[in-house]
């Protein structure tokens, strides 16, 4: 058992950071070094790129549906069940299936990953809009706002916290799962994790650390975006 655990954890992490910054020898490459900051940057950019594409596709598909259904208060059970069921998608199988059915590469991986992002975005958009205080909506309607104005000026601003939490969840799921993209023709940080034969234990750990940092960074960025979007009236008072 003990051999499977990383030896002294600190030494492992040190090894991983060495791998991130300086290319290392590998057993199987015939003398060519692997890893290092250049490869890390390249793969990080790839990982971000596929995440952004996937998120964009998920938003385009899920937001309009979620907002519309929420506004009309229709299909509540369906919208919520969809979100729950969506968490059970076997992404690896989906990627393998898509790779076989429609090919490999950036766009195909992005589509497969978008499937992960759609359920939380759709469900949270629905719930966020659906639970907006009816009296606020009625007041808006009484003031003569059109349905689209109600959605844009009343419901969406009030639903921002719920909406954004769906988007944040989707982003984390997508960026973390983008590690399997090298199995479908697109190199991401997952390359370090999948190919222990090439990169060694340090590479695997380095990949995991980098993906975790990337997820954290995206989370911070989106938290910032949420702050900017949230209407002052909804923010907790500081006094």
């Amino acid at each position: 058992m003990s051999a499977l655990l990383p030896q002294p954890l600190l030494a492992s992490i040190e090894g991983a950071f060495e791998f991130i910054f300086t290319p290392q020898y590998s057993n199987v490459t015939g003398g060519k070094k692997v890893g290092g900051i250049d490869q890390v940057i390249e793969l990080t950019i790839n990982q971000l790129e596929v995440t952004v594409y996937a998120l964009a596709i998920a938003l385009v598909v899920a937001l309009p549906i979620g907002l519309y259904l929420g506004h009309r208060h229709r299909f509540e059970a369906l919208a919520i069940a969809f979100g729950t069921a969506g968490r059970g998608i076997p992404e690896l199988a989906l990627i393998a299936f898509m790779a076989a059915a429609i090919g490999v590469g950036l766009l195909n991986v992005a589509i497969a990953l978008a499937v992960l992002g759609i359920p939380p975005i759709l469900t949270n958009a629905f719930v966020g809009i659906h639970q907006v205080d009816r009296s606020a909506v009625d007041a808006a309607r009484g003031m003569g706002m059109t349905e689209s104005e109600i959605l844009r000026k009343v419901e969406i601003p009030l639903a921002i916290p719920t909406l954004m939490s769906g988007i944040r969840g989707a982003t984390i799921a997508i960026v973390a799962t983008a590690t399997i993209a090298p199995l479908a023709g697109y190199l991401t940080l997952g390359d370090f994790i999948i190919n222990e034969n090439v990169y060694g234990e340090n590479g695997v750990l380095a990949g995991a650390i980098l993906v975790a940092l990337l997820a954290l960074a995206l989370e911070l960025v989106l938290a910032g975006v949420q702050r900017l979007l949230t209407s002052p009236g909804l923010k907790p008072r500081t006094e």
Binding site: D191, N195, V198
Partner: protein, 333 residues
Amino acid sequence: MRTKTTRLRLALAALLALALALGVSACGSSDDDTTGADTTASEGGGAGGAIVTNPENEGVTLTVGSKNFTEQIVLGEVYAQALEAAGYKVKKDLNLGSETVARKTLKAGQISGYPEYVSTALTSFFGAEPEEVPADATEAYEEAKAEFEKEDLTAFPPTPFASANAVGLLKKTAEEKNLKTISDLEGVSEELTLYGSPECRQRIDCLAGLEELYGLKFKKFTPVDIGLRYTVLDNGQADLSILFTTDPQLAAQKDKYVILEDDKQVFPAGNVIWVTTPKVVEDAGPDYEKTILEVQEGLTLPVVQELGARVELEKEPAAKVAGEYLEAAGYTG
């Protein structure tokens, strides 16, 4: 809530099925006690000699490991069921990922042994260059065994069949471009796409070797899951794909796929050796090595391709295919 209970029920059902399966197989092996009374039958050791159940082995539990692709899983099943027939209690852990994971699991004592390609052991574990791997199976085995012993592991002698990576393509592409050997790709490869497993990209016994030792440049190398190596050819996504010489597709569909001759020997061939630890050998007694060697004697290239074909092409479960092979070859039943 509803999905949760359904899942729980499914899990319970799966557990029950597993328990039943284990129970049945346990009964199966104890039944063999009566049939295997003739101890001299196996002394010949040739393919077809029945494996004798030794009640003394009952107290020993062996965990059979394998890597995560069809050929390995079938081999794992064959070894596991043979050991079971010899009277051992056998557990299986047949999806261990790459050789690095398999070796670690073995060192950690979580498996008792697993089948490894002697060429992979030499290149991946012990730093040999592909061209340094001895062509002779016994010589390669001796070399690997000596290296394994340095890290307190050991290995049993090799199988009759050997496996290697190969550059494969559709027969019609090969004929169109008049390709027979990998060297023939010179001047053509720039227009061809090559697909292979993600690790292939940097391995010297794969893409890196094709680039450095053959001096080839490809239009594009695309990493894909190892299970898609024929699909990408079928779909026309790949012009060339990295295959295994033991692939059942190559035997079953000779007029569809061909492999290019590795004229500069970038892809060393490897027979399979059973890698284990001296401690397991000692605990398990003499029947351990005897059973492994006996059962693998029938594993020639056509047999391995046939077993692979039934699992990969006809979608039969590996356990069933292995069981029927053991029975048909006269090892059990």
